[in-house]
C-alpha cells in the first residue's frame, strides 16, 4: 500500500510539470518561400539571418507595433504605409510628439537589393538600420532596450522568437525579425514588368510605350542611374536640386566635400505612389520632378555630369509620366499573410 502511495505521488508531481507557454516543443519553423517576380534577381539573404516563416511573421507584427516607440504611438508603418509602397504621404514624417524628421521616408520596396540603407547610405545592413528609427529622437525616441521591454510580455512574440531564433525576444531578435520582414517587400509586378519581363505587349498602352522609349533615350539619360531590375543603380548623385544644400547628404557619411548634396538614387518602382519626391520631399508631383530634370538643375559644384538638359513637348511629358505610372505594382508588396 505504501509503495503505491509513493508511486502515485510521484506521478502526480510529474504531471504537475507543464510547458511554459512561450516554449514551443512540438512546433518547427521552416523557410519562408519568397515569391520573386519574373526578372527579379535572387536576393542575397544573410546566412546568419535566414528568412523563416516565424522570423518574417514576427518581423511583420513588430513592424506594425507602435509599442516600439517611447509613447506607444509610432510604428514603422506610421511612416511606411503599405498602400504607398511602404513610403510616406508627407514630405517629412512625424515622430513622437509630432516632431518632424529630417528627410522624406523612402519606399521600402526591394530594399533587399540595397547595399546601404538611408538616403545617404550611412547604414550597411537592414539589421542595424532597425536601430535608427527606434532610437531617433524625432522618430520613435526609445532606447532599443525600452522597446524590447515594452513588448517582452507578448506571448505570441515570445513563441515566434523561440521558434525563429531559439531565444527570448530581445534587441537581437527585434532587429533581425524586422529586417527579415523588410526583405520580403518585393516589388516587380507592374504592367511595366509584364511588358518587359513577361513579353506581354498589350500590358502598356501606346502612350506608355512612347514614355518608355523616352525614358530609355540618350536625350533624357534617365537610365544612366535608373537602371536594372530595381530601376536604380543605388549610386549617390547630386541632381542640382539646390545651389546650397541644408542637408549634406552623402558627405555626412563619407566626410568628403565632393559628396555634398549627393543622395542615393531611388528606385522608380511605384513612383506614382511614393511622392512627395526627393530627399526632403520638396517636389509634390511627378510633373515637378520631370520639369526639374528637364532644366538640368542648379549648377552645384557636385552636380552629376550624367544630368542633361532636355526639352519635352506637352505630349512627350504626358507620355513619360504615363510610363512612370505604369511602374505601379498591381499586387501588394507584402507577402506575409
Amino acid at each position: 500500500m505504501k509503495t503505491w502511495t509513493i508511486a502515485i505521488l510521484l506521478l502526480v508531481m510529474l504531471g504537475a510539470c507543464r510547458k511554459d507557454p512561450a516554449i514551443v516543443q512540438d512546433e518547427v519553423d521552416g523557410p519562408f518561400l519568397l515569391a520573386l517576380p519574373p526578372g527579379a534577381p535572387s536576393p542575397l539573404i544573410p546566412e546568419d539571418n535566414p528568412l523563416t516563416v516565424a522570423s518574417v511573421s514576427l518581423g511583420k507584427a513588430l513592424f506594425f507595433d507602435p509599442r516600439l516607440s517611447r509613447d506607444g504611438t509610432i510604428s514603422c508603418a506610421s511612416c511606411h504605409f503599405p498602400d504607398r509602397a511602404f513610403s510616406d504621404t508627407v514630405a517629412l514624417s512625424r515622430g513622437v510628439d509630432g516632431l518632424t524628421g529630417m528627410r522624406n521616408a523612402p519606399s521600402l520596396g526591394n530594399v533587399v537589393y540595397h547595399t546601404a540603407m538611408f538616403r545617404d547610405g550611412g547604414v550597411d545592413d537592414l539589421e542595424r538600420q532597425v536601430i535608427a528609427p527606434v532610437e531617433d529622437p524625432v522618430e520613435m525616441d526609445h532606447f532599443l532596450q525600452g522597446a524590447v521591454d515594452a513588448v517582452a510580455n507578448d506571448l505570441e512574440y515570445q513563441r515566434k522568437s523561440q521558434l525563429a531564433y531559439g531565444r527570448p525576444l530581445d534587441a537581437f531578435v527585434i532587429t533581425r525579425a524586422i529586417a527579415s520582414y523588410e526583405r520580403t517587400l518585393i516589388s516587380g509586378w507592374s504592367r511595366y514588368d509584364r511588358y518587359v519581363y513577361g513579353g506581354e505587349l498589350p500590358a502598356l498602352n501606346e502612350s506608355e510605350v512612347r514614355g518608355l522609349a523616352l525614358f530609355n533615350s540618350e536625350l533624357l539619360n534617365c537610365t544612366a542611374c535608373h537602371n536594372g531590375f530595381d530601376l536604380s543603380d543605388h549610386s549617390y548623385q547630386n541632381i542640382g536640386q539646390y545651389l546650397t544644400y541644408a542637408d549634406p547628404g552623402r558627405e555626412r557619411i563619407s566626410l568628403d566635400p565632393g559628396d555634398a548634396g549627393k543622395f542615393k538614387v531611388p528606385s522608380l518602382r511605384n513612383v506614382a505612389l511614393t511622392g512627395p519626391y526627393m530627399h526632403d520631399g520638396a517636389m509634390a508631383t511627378l510633373e515637378e520632378v520631370v520639369d526639374h530634370f528637364a532644366s538640368g538643375g542648379q549648377p552645384h559644384p557636385n552636380r552629376s555630369p550624367l544630368l542633361t538638359n532636355f526639352a519635352l513637348s506637352a505630349e512627350e511629358k504626358t507620355d513619360l509620366i504615363a510610363f512612370l505610372n505604369a511602374l505601379t505594382d498591381e499586387r501588394s508588396l507584402d507577402q506575409v499573410p
Binding site: 545617404d120 550597411d124 542595424r128 536601430i131 532599443l144 532596450q145 555626412r252 557619411i253
Partner: protein, 256 residues
C-alpha cells in the same frame, strides 16, 4: 501469466530514491595564485591645474565664459608600454565625466613595470563597424550609453557639450549652446602618454593610474584654437573642426 507493472515500477522507484545519496565531502582546493594584476584608471578633469567642476562657469582661452555640461569619450586599444614591449589592457573603455571624473577597473593585467600608456581616442574601426546589438548591458559599447550614432552605425568618440557667452566679463549664465561630437573612423587618433615614472603592476594586487584631462586645453593647443564663436557644432560633418577638437582633447591628457 499476466504482466504486473508493479514488478518493474516499484523497484524502479526504489532505485531512483536510494540513488540520491549525499556527495562525498570534497576538500576544497585552494584558489590558484593570481597570475595577473588589476589596474584602476582614474580620469581626473582639471581646469588650469585645479579640479574641474561640471556646470561651473570658466573663462576659456578666448576669454569666453563657458559652462561645460557634458564630457564623454572612448579610449580604445589601451596598452601599457615599457622598453621591451607592451601589453593590451583593454580593447575599449567609456568615460563619462558627469561626476567630475570617472574610474574604470581592469583585471587581468600583465604584471610588469610600465613607463607609458598608448591608446586610441575613439573606438577602433573593428569595434566601430560591428553590430552594437551584441554588447551586453554595462559594456562600454552598449547602446544604452547613448553614444551611438544610429544614422551612421558608428559611435560618437567624444561628446563635448555646454554653453558659452562671448562676453568674458558677463554675469548672466551662458546660454549659447555648443555641442561638439566627433566620430566616424577618420576621427580615431592614437596617442602615447609618458607616465612620468614607472607604474608597477603585480599579480594579485591593484595599481592605480591617474590621467589628468585639462578641460581648458580642450579648447586649444600650441597651434590651434577651437573658437566657439565660429566653431560650436559638429555632429559627424564638419570634419576639420572634429579633427581639431580631437587633437586638442588628446593633447589635454597628461600624467603627473
Amino acid at each position: 501469466m499476466e504482466f504486473d507493472p508493479r514488478t518493474i515500477l516499484v523497484p524502479l522507484m526504489f532505485l531512483t530514491l536510494v540513488g540520491c545519496g549525499p556527495d562525498e565531502p570534497v576538500e576544497p582546493e585552494p584558489p590558484p595564485a593570481p597570475l595577473t594584476g588589476t589596474l584602476k584608471l582614474v580620469i581626473r578633469p582639471t581646469w588650469n591645474g585645479v579640479p574641474f567642476v561640471m556646470n561651473e562657469i570658466y573663462n576659456n582661452v578666448n576669454d569666453y565664459r563657458v559652462k561645460v555640461e557634458g564630457i564623454k569619450f572612448y579610449l580604445g586599444d589601451v596598452r601599457l608600454l615599457n622598453g621591451s614591449g607592451n601589453t593590451l589592457v583593454k580593447d575599449i573603455a567609456f568615460f563619462d565625466l558627469r561626476y567630475n571624473g570617472d574610474t574604470v577597473t581592469w583585471t587581468g593585467v600583465q604584471p610588469g613595470i610600465w613607463s607609458g600608456l598608448s591608446a586610441g581616442f575613439g573606438v577602433p574601426q573593428a569595434l566601430n563597424d560591428a553590430d552594437p546589438i551584441i554588447y551586453p548591458p554595462g559594456h562600454p559599447l552598449d547602446l544604452a550609453n547613448g553614444s551611438y550614432w544610429t544614422w551612421a552605425t558608428a559611435y560618437r568618440f567624444f561628446q563635448f557639450d555646454g554653453r558659452y557667452d562671448l562676453d568674458g566679463s558677463g554675469t548672466a549664465p551662458p546660454t549659447s549652446p555648443f555641442s561638439m561630437h566627433t566620430g566616424l573612423n577618420a576621427c580615431y587618433q592614437e596617442f602615447n602618454l609618458d607616465l612620468g615614472g614607472d607604474i608597477v603592476v603585480t599579480a594579485g594586487s591593484t595599481s592605480t593610474l591617474v590621467i589628468d584631462m585639462a578641460v581648458d586645453r580642450v579648447f586649444y593647443t600650441a597651434t590651434d584654437t577651437v573658437d566657439l564663436a565660429t566653431e560650436n557644432q559638429t555632429h559627424g560633418t564638419n570634419l576639420p573642426v572634429a579633427l581639431e577638437l580631437t587633437n586638442c582633447a588628446v593633447q589635454s591628457f597628461s600624467v603627473e
